[in-house]
Amino acid sequence: MFKRIFEWLIQPLGLIAVGIALLALFSLAAYGLYATQQPPEQPIQFPHQTHIAFGIQCLYCHPGAAKGPSAGIPSSAKCWACHNQIAKTQTSALLAPLKQAVESGAPIEWVPVAIVPDFVQFNHRAHVAAGQNCENCHGDMTKVTVAQNPQVFNMGWCLNCHVKSADDDQEKLVKLSDCGTCHY
């Protein structure tokens, strides 16, 4: 039985079949990898680049970054403060979900992009207070529409920068590489 299959496989047609199967598997894997690197579908194609070009500060929309662990995503009320005075809001198809959300009072369900796993405790305040720019970790937002990650937030990435910023300060190095600083 196995011998018959093997014999069929080593004839030219069989070899082609094997080749096609391998190619299909490979492209599936490649597509899978590619898909993990794509920003997810958002309810509104919110254009970061246009808003930042108007000179709106990151902290106006993400004020938590200076105060506490999480930066926060603006509520529709914050968008509406500007957008109810902008004529385009009434006509733009892109903004229809925002108009709908404000009228019905339902929240806009943004899909998280920049996240670390539950067992990691990240704190924006410490980083912003230490003079780290948003760009260092989130990339240049003036070039993107919806947010996407310029790198994976893995442990080596965190520790690399921590070791670098501690420099020769032994106490700081101990604190910033201590498991209890990030995992609890």
């Binding site: 105060k67 539950d118 305040r125 207070a129 498991c179 209890g180």
Partner: protein, 246 residues
């Protein structure tokens, strides 16, 4: 066989010289055994409710428990004061060197025993080596029916099945308070924050704070002559002091 006497107790560094960073004092004379600390700890630290059946197998999960002991022969039994037992945050912890995965390590920054949940593979060596028996193991993914998930503390990891856990001295509160103090450009103040168990205790039997600050309430209390550290003779350098019959 090696006995305790052979171990030359005099060579073991006793706790008098050891000063940890964070410490706790528990006054057993005023503890009423009401279990408020046990409940508060479970709320603060996302400890699951194990249920009757698994508890029957000895799988109940607590980071702090109230121990009760009796003295004398029946019918003249007398109960000794309640003894809240939690991780003693040993300066030289027996649980640490036995972990094959380095998941329970000593925090050099906070001088606490850490349990890195994501590193833990559940061998349970640490629990077997803990002389205080204060570690608990997640035998299952225990159910949290609605609306219980709403009360989970976002600052504490929700543990999965197969992971060891134990009291952390509420490290999330420690780091939070330190972060707040740093944002305001000051040192952390004594009594500014406390652990969940100490906060909930209606009798104020639990005091928590900086051990290395001679002015703090805990370090003052810990110096009292009737303070006892449990199983100190094992050389564990515990950071919890108990008062009994003072």
């Amino acid at each position: 066989m090696v006995t305790l006497a052979d171990l030359k107790i005099s060579e073991v560094k006793l706790s008098e010289e050891h000063v940890g960073k964070w410490g706790m004092v528990i006054d057993q004379d005023i503890c009423t055994g009401c279990q408020a600390c046990v409940a508060a700890c479970a709320m603060e630290n996302n400890i699951p409710f194990v249920g009757e059946e698994d508890s029957g197998y000895g799988r109940s999960m607590h980071w702090i428990r109230i121990e009760r002991f009796w003295e004398g022969e029946y019918p003249e039994v007398k109960m000794t004061p309640n003894q809240p037992m939690l991780c003693q945050q040993c300066g030289s912890a027996p649980c640490e060197p036995v972990c094959p995965a380095f998941a329970t390590v000593h925090s050099q920054a906070e001088k606490l025993n850490l349990q890195v949940y994501n590193r833990c593979i559940g061998t349970r060596y640490c629990a077997n080596n803990c002389p205080y028996q204060v570690r608990s193991f997640n035998w299952r993914d225990y159910e949290r029916p609605e609306p219980l998930p709403n009360q989970l503390n976002p600052d504490v990891t929700v543990r999965r099945r197969g992971i060891m856990e134990k009291c952390t001295f509420c490290i999330q509160r420690i780091l939070n308070a330190q972060d707040k103090a740093k944002a305001e450009g000051r040192e952390i103040m004594d009594g500014e924050f406390t652990t969940a168990c100490a906060q909930a205790c209606p009798a104020n039997a639990i005091t928590f704070g900086r051990m290395d600050d001679p002015e703090s309430l805990v370090s003052q209390l810990a110096k009292r002559s009737h303070g006892v550290k449990h199983l100190e003779e094992l050389g564990t350098l515990p950071n919890v002091t108990y008062f009994k019959g003072g």
